[in-house]
Symmetry: C2
Subunit: 115 residues, 2 copies
DNA sequence: CTAATAGTTCGACGATCTTCGATAGACTTG
DNA sequence: CAAGTCTATCGAAGATCGTCGAACTATTAG
């Protein structure tokens, strides 16, 4: 399902950084999104999920990939999820992640040149 | 292609996050770039310079715009400059900043979908 | 040379972040 | 129900970050 409601999308607020000056409230929102991308472990976790395309990735594999403890990986995945960049679904004992490409596109739009 | 030097550009290394999995070294580089965008004050400073288009912006105006002390603004502008997002030039007593659009485009490319 | 101005660097403090071990919660299996 | 497995949360330690006042550097004006 589209985990991500267009009306409530916090980034729907924000024009490109290059055209209109960001006010304080919008800057706070956008900064939170980029902060989710500002850690190398999170970037590699995100990249791993994103590179799977539409396919899902099992949480059970992630700790080995980034060589961090299970609680640390859980923490980072929560931040990526809170930022709307990945979707989670628990099925049975396992948790599966998949990318939310719309959110990455929204961030790209914030960095886009003025039209 | 970009006007800056492709060989020396630290982001020239990095394929889109969505297609190829980032290794540790590349994730470190990309994370540093996004970290520069992960603070609301820096985003507003960058937005102010970027929204001026190709025109330059005087450092003397920035502290009033973001309501922070002058050393704090200097600190943030240094981070943006180190990230390659803005260029600085000192002329006489004043420092002038302008946007480096190629670097913003490079970051957008890292977030782009696989082709 | 002296005084004045713009910006950077230094030193410190508090807040936030990353990390992990221990623990708790959710779910399956026997 | 009890035991086992997978993930999330808690609590703490250490590192990093944002912030400002004070001191320093560079440049201009007189």
């Amino acid at each position: 399902m589209a985990a991500h409601n267009r009306v409530l999308d916090p980034l729907a607020c924000c024009p490109p950084v290059r055209s209109e000056r960001l006010d304080e409230a919008r800057a706070e929102l956008v900064a939170k999104s980029f902060a989710a991308l500002a850690d190398p472990i999170r970037l590699r976790l995100l990249s791993h999920v994103a590179a799977a395309g539409g396919d899902e990735v099992c949480a059970c594999d992630l700790a080995a990939i980034v060589d961090r403890s299970q609680p640390t990986v859980s923490h980072h995945m929560r931040i990526l999820h809170d930022a709307g960049l990945i979707a989670r679904e628990k099925r049975g004992l396992w948790v599966w992640y998949r990318i939310v490409p719309e959110r990455l596109d929204a961030l790209r739009a914030v960095l886009a040149a003025a039209d």
